[in-house]
Symmetry: C2
Subunit: 160 residues, 2 copies
């Protein structure tokens, strides 16, 4: 209620010029990413709560299901997280028996993460739900536009 009432005068589309572009930062990549990320993760966290997961643990579980089993160090790099955060996330998943740590073969310092059967089952269901949430978030776009935006974001990421 309040949100709409106070927000409308600023962001409303009651005249044609009314756009994000009016906002001084409305066209800043940083602003767009921050806001989309914030609202998006809230949404997917709600979705994932049903599975006892959050965006973070979900992504770690996904990596555990990957056939190319990355080390924790690689996970940290992939997810742009501190290695210590990975530890905590894995502890959580492990105590929920979705995941198992196995010692590395070449290098016994490292740990390889394996999803349990239960873990793979949960992941599969959670992934479907997350996919729906994503489609909802991209609801304003045509399927082609959605693919375009994701493809461009991937391109940016690969370059970095």
């Amino acid at each position: 209620m309040t949100n709409e009432q106070t927000l409308v005068p600023v962001l409303a589309v009651d005249d044609d010029s009314s756009d994000l572009a009016e906002l001084p930062i409305g066209n800043d990549l940083g602003f767009l990413l921050a806001k989309l990320h914030a609202t998006g993760s809230q949404l997917t966290n709600v979705t994932l709560a049903e599975f006892g997961l959050k965006e973070r643990s979900f992504s770690v579980l996904a990596l555990a299901c990957w056939d190319r089993h990355p080390t924790q160090r690689e996970m940290a790099a992939l997810l742009t997280l501190d290695p210590s955060q990975i530890v905590a996330l894995i502890d959580e998943l492990e105590s929920a028996q979705l995941v198992e740590r196995k010692p590395g073969i070449m290098d016994r310092r490292q740990r390889i993460l394996l999803a349990t059967a239960k873990g793979r089952r949960v992941y599969s269901d959670a992934r479907a739900a997350v996919g729906e949430t994503e489609r909802a978030q991209l609801g304003a776009l045509t399927p082609e536009e959605a693919e375009t935006v994701k493809s461009l974001l991937r391109k940016v990421l690969l370059h970095t």
Copy 2:
């Protein structure tokens, strides 16, 4: 050094199939936004350190420079932040004399935020620097692609 050594085997482009798409979550909007936002804000925070700002305070300063002076409540909604966080950010900017709180005209409960002359000067310089950082981050894209991706992101945001 280490990062490259450990990361390369996973994300390298030494064979053609090597892509983000290999990653189970490499095509997830949530992952893309999280990672781009994380790396992007680190970059812009480095850029903004020179001005004594961070991504957050920069965006609040930008709103203070806006001719349509939003209330703190509106700022919170615009930036997807809790009103209490806005308070802290403004306190910071105010003690740096970049910004002034003025009581609302219609409603004396609310505060209107005005940038000082110094604030507008700093904002103008900071904005230019942030613009460069953004162009650097989007370096992999052509100018048209960059405009496309931002325009699509704006579209998604408006719909939400």
